[in-house]
Symmetry: C2
Subunit: 196 residues, 2 copies
């Protein structure tokens, strides 16, 4: 990044309510406390002022990698595509929280569960470039965040079955034994709703 | 931690100004932009409302370990002592920021610089329990934080030379090539000022 590049947005607000370009198809509470329902979702860069008809706002910040090693980073970067592809009319927002036992583990043991046992990076890589994703961290935004991570996924309708496989593979992994709250929100870009 | 334990504070505000229990002995800008001067420092748990006579407020949050492996964690925990020891009448607050090149490195290469090349954990361990410390993360509090880390150190006057060695050893390490802003603030607990 040159000194003249515009700053890249890191903080994002996901606003659930009755307005926004993404239609909520379903909200499933996988484990822990449910979230209140919303029919639409907006995503804005930066902090968000309360909106009329808003149900909830979740905030997350993109950050440096916590587990990925060089070889994995090269593989991910070579296969991945960005968000906002024309064909990516389906999306998922999956907020999760991990328990105190996870956060008390030293770095080597978290990496061991994350990749050696759970193949988290390898599973994500298998579904690239079909399933684009952006990971947002919440845990260090402040002491009272409701989730630790928000992951935003985008894919084409024809990749819906592949996305389902990805989510099920992660949920079946040893890493997920540490997840104590998870909500799975599925969405469709609003202008494509009538064409489904 | 049992379900009935009070929540442990994670977010701390360091308030420089003209009031507070810590007297500022010196403020040295090591690299990058200096901070405005302050004669006293207060530390409060949680976010801080602006105080009269305040010069600046820095916020940081304690978090999970990013590099420490199990064997190192066991060694650290067995040797370290807590903050607020009666004899710890000297302190240092050292805010640092690392450059974009550091944050772009994958996890394995940051660990390699941090410990294999720089012995960051081993150096800290050598000065335990004399120099107690608490690391606060700032980078993921929001997109506009002035520093990435705030480290707070406490030690007895008789360990001042040892503390100086620790700081110099870290500054001479390969890791410090990635530090692009650092301010070194030294302090004395106010009630001990007259006894020096």
């Amino acid at each position: 990044m040159s000194a003249n590049s515009p700053p890249i947005a890191r903080l994002f607000s996901f606003i659930g309510g009755s307005t926004g370009p993404w239609l909520v198809d379903s909200m499933q509470c996988v484990i822990g406390e449910p979230m209140s329902t919303a029919s639409r979702l907006s995503i804005v860069a930066g902090p968000a002022a309360p909106l009329p008809g808003e149900s909830w706002t979740l905030r997350g910040i993109t950050s440096n990698e916590r587990y990925v090693v060089r070889e994995e980073k090269v593989a991910l970067v070579s296969k991945q595509e960005g968000l906002s592809r024309e064909a990516s009319t389906r999306a998922a927002l999956i907020p999760i929280r991990k328990n105190a036992a996870w956060w008390a583990l030293p770095q080597d043991e978290r990496r061991e569960v994350f990749e050696a046992q759970s193949r988290h990076i390898a599973i994500g890589l298998k579904y690239l470039p079909a399933v684009a994703r952006r990971l947002h961290h919440c845990r260090d935004l402040g002491p009272d965040e409701p989730f630790d991570f928000l992951t935003w996924f985008e894919y084409a309708p024809s990749d819906s079955a592949a996305f389902e496989e990805l989510v099920q593979a992660l949920r079946a992994s040893p890493e997920w034994a540490y997840v104590d709250r998870e909500v799975d929100i599925r969405l469709t870009r609003a202008e494509f709703q009538l064409k489904r």
